[in-house]
Amino acid sequence: MSRRTGQGRALAAAAGLTTWLALLSWSVFVVDPWTYLDVALAGIAVIAGVGIATRRLRLPVAVVVAAQLLGVMLFVNLMWGSTWWPSPASVEQTALALRTAVETSQQYMAPVGSAAPSVAPLMVSGALLLHVLVDALAVTLGRVPVSGLPLLVVYSLPVSIVQEPVSWVVFVLAAAGFLLMLVVQESDRVRHWGRSVDGRTTDRGTGVAGMRHTLLVGSAATALAVAVPVVVPTLDLAVFAGAGPGSRGDGNVELTNPMADLQRDLLRGPDEPLLRVTADQRPTYLRTAALTSYNGNAWSPGNREWEGNEATGDFPPPTGLAPDVPRDHVRWELSSTDKFDSEWLPTSLFVDRLDAGEDWAYDEEVLDVHGDEQDVRADDMSWTLTAMQPRFEFEALTSAPPAPFELDEKYTALPDDLDPLVRQLAEEVTVGLPSRYERAVALQSWFRREFSYSTDVVPGASGDLLVEFLREGGRVGYCEQFAAAMAIMARALDIPSRVAVGFLSPDAVPGQPGEWVFSAWDLHAWPELYFEGAGWVRFEPTPAARAEEVPPYTQGDGAGPAPDPTAGPTTTLPEPQPGPTDTRTLDPGAAPGSDTGAGGGLTWLWWTGLAVALVLALLLVPGAVRRARTAARWHGDDPAEAAWAELRDLAADCGVRWPPGRSPRVTAAVLVKSFAAPAGRHTLPRPATGRLENVEAATALDRIVAAVEQSRYAGDPVLPDTAELREWVELCAEALRGGLTRQARFRAAWLPASVVSWRHVVLPRPTLTRVRSHQDVVDHVG
């Protein structure tokens, strides 16, 4: 048991910070991350504080961990039981909050909205327990690398639960935190290993230079970690996926629990293309699944039996559809993208024939198609079907006889505690209408007239939300609520009903007639009501803002209140851009092209100007680099060497030979041959050069040589001022430039050759180790 007390404060803080940063990745679970982040931060602070205090008391590891767990309990109790000290009532309250959170997490798909019962208790408790583990490993036991494992759990939880990749920003933050933990622990260890030579033993283990190294390595490693995965091919061998599609890759649109996923895919996700259909006419209303049972909280698919009904070949005739109803047959070829992660296979409402392969099976009663086994997904596959489109007649439907008893009993079942308002409203809306069908049409019209469409509402169809939705003042919602509410109200009116989930209407693929694409935002829900002789008939209660058309058979004469104005005959032709009032553009494809075309002329001008500026800037770079180098050089601690290096660069700039490996004196003798009088108005094109042409500069050069010799060879060098040296170098520079032609002078000023030389560094004066007596021996290592 390694217990190093009194030193863990920085490490505990770093560990807390790291856990919290890793928790940022959990923000995909909820719409508003601050519902759990702030509470988690407070809880982590509590754990760290308890850890620091108990470790200071030198308690055993087990006691430290136990105290931290107790701290977590008290904290959770304080947060959701609202008292400092747990009382039976507060414990119950806390347990309730936790239970609710667990239920929410099971019912809702991520991200959970703010109106749903909060999942924060669950997330915070889990996070705190994980942090207790992190703290125990990293600080109490001093095993920081091991504590990376629970941190990895925190970080990768979103990947394993919602298959959503974690943002690289979160990764960088969490990685930085973890590296900080490593550094803190290591500097702690080093500090305990020995005393710092520079006397800074107490506060910091690493100084500025060490810090620079740390930052360099840490940031380079993190940058690599962010950048490299982009080019690393993920083989995606699908080793554990069996026959089904394997990848749980990014951004997939899931349809596992159809209703729960609907809102998320519809609202939160990107508008991914999911299905591609080849058909002669625009295919609308593709059904993915039908939800047959309502339990008071939500619609669900109910109990199904798929076994043995392989969905390849002819389908059984639709339930309740009389053979004499006239019908059309349309052939659709469908294919799904790899983003379409659904257990259900989209088909038309009435299927004549389906070729989907042996993985798929249909439900005999509902006639929707589901994977035959677990983990069969509809992504990246193609299938064909023959859709049957019955032409219902308004009159025939109004005279439909009651449904058979079993069907009626099953599809009109409502929970006993259904709010009476639902039934009351249903009857109010349909008062005085003779047939069930007319009542159903009246309901649809009522929804389309009295309600408005918005996606910014709470999802779900639980009792309270349903009443909220139906009451005056509410009446705002999106397709799921319309479909659910109408189906429930139809059941209240004894009309068998169910909710279908699927796709509303596709976008045409530009340039390819007969090709249509369904994307994530086309997901839709609608009610289907049963009428004997016609079977399951689709209705469309969602207002025109979303679904413009109502089914034609609901528009007949005497259909109660007038149909929705926007859904009138004027809009029978489907427009390519649906949903203008929807805040999102469903088809952004065509927009950018026109923009670029319009601004073409201006762009050219702009680019040319930019290019010219760039070339000019590039031309200025060498001179600027040269001057920056000079400036930096004079800041060094050896002015003589700086002057010498500057001279060498000047020689290179002026194209004057610099004899390699010679003493300063010999070099100067060579250099002085190129000296000339400073360039002026009367300078000849080819000026004379030599020592006598510029005696002043030659003397300056001699002085520089003397200084260099002092610096290099004197035991205790006496050096002139930096300012003096600079002056001398300037004299030499002018003398050198004076000996050049005009072009060469220009080149030396703006395109100095020394910029590309590698030898511009001022050589440091070698450090000598001086011994005090003849006994001392200088020992070297390195």
Partner: protein, 427 residues
Amino acid sequence: MREGLLGLTGRGRAFLAAGVTAVVCAVVMGQPTLTRVGILLVALPLLTAFLVGRSRYRLALVRTVTPQLVSAGQSATVRLDLTNEGRTPTGLLLLEDQVPYVLGTRPRFVVDVMTLGWQRRMEYVVRSDVRGRFEIGPMTVRVSDPFGLVELGRTFRTTVPLTVTPRTIQLPVVPLAGAWTGSGDNRPRAFASGSAEDVTVREYRHGDDLRRVHWRSSARAGELMVRREEQPWQSRATLFLDNRHDAHRGHGAGSSFEAAISVAASIAVHLSQRGFVVRLVTADGEDPNTVWHDRASSQNTAPLLEALSVVQGARRTHHDATWLSEGGSTGLLVAVLGDLDAHDQPMLRRMLHHGSAPLAIVLDVDAWAGRTSRPTGAVPTVGLLSGMGWRAVGMRPGDSLPALWQELGRRAGSTGPRHAAPVDVAR
């Protein structure tokens, strides 16, 4: 880079292994999130190894120990002058001086920032309660990194010796015989006039002046011979220490052997201070560093103490008697003896003949072993030695050495010196 990779610590290797595993798993299973973690874990040790392995530094170290000769229990200061003669190294430098554990904890220094021309002086103190000769150094240098992933070890080469001499006790001045007596080489001899053959020569001994080599005799004898010449007289003393293993009991610092060495050291210092030139003789024979030299200064006790600090127990049953056979007097002979048996009697007798009324301090070695508790004065060998003509006292663990020395002086007075007057040259 290669060097840096070889220097990966356990943590570094674990990171590398975990990272590679993670990347492989991520690639196989298509998890980009895991790839990131894996690449971070791989990149960290590799980058660190690259940077640390690339760091070129050149450190110069000058180590000084003052004083180089300390008595047990005294402290010496080690001064380290460290200079960076190379470039700025990347990484932390962990310096550790290899000091024998007897001298205390190993001093450790951490250098995190080392600029060009960096110079620091570090000092630490060593202290030993055990006599001996210790090597301080060499210093090891480990280059580490702030994440603890790489550690490269390098070592300086030089060491500096530190001699810890036995503890000595100041002894009272007692009348001692033997001054001016021991003078094997020193006795003035009148050369027989003229004849080179008459030159008295002896074998060359280490330390003899080459100018005294008598080449003609050397040629005849086949080995180097030196002339015996007239020299100033010295008061000489021979300190005999019985360092045979069998003669002593006990182990380590509490053994009778260490006590004997301490006694011998005290006597040696005392005699030197009184003007004697002291040589040390052990069961292995004459100690080469303390032979009587012509110009040896009696005041310099350092060679004696140094010799005593490295004396080890000898695994032999008999004393080496060659130093007696060389002839001449032993000067004042003081023997520090342990257990004696019948074999030793001839040796003791010979010593008696060479010396003048030799003194002996006999350790009751069994008392150090904790076995017996005889009453004082009943150390059997004391009686034996007294019978032979030695002046001897017995010593037990708790006995005060000055008191015993005084007692010895009294006995010397009672038996009477051979020479007329004991000369006390102590200042």
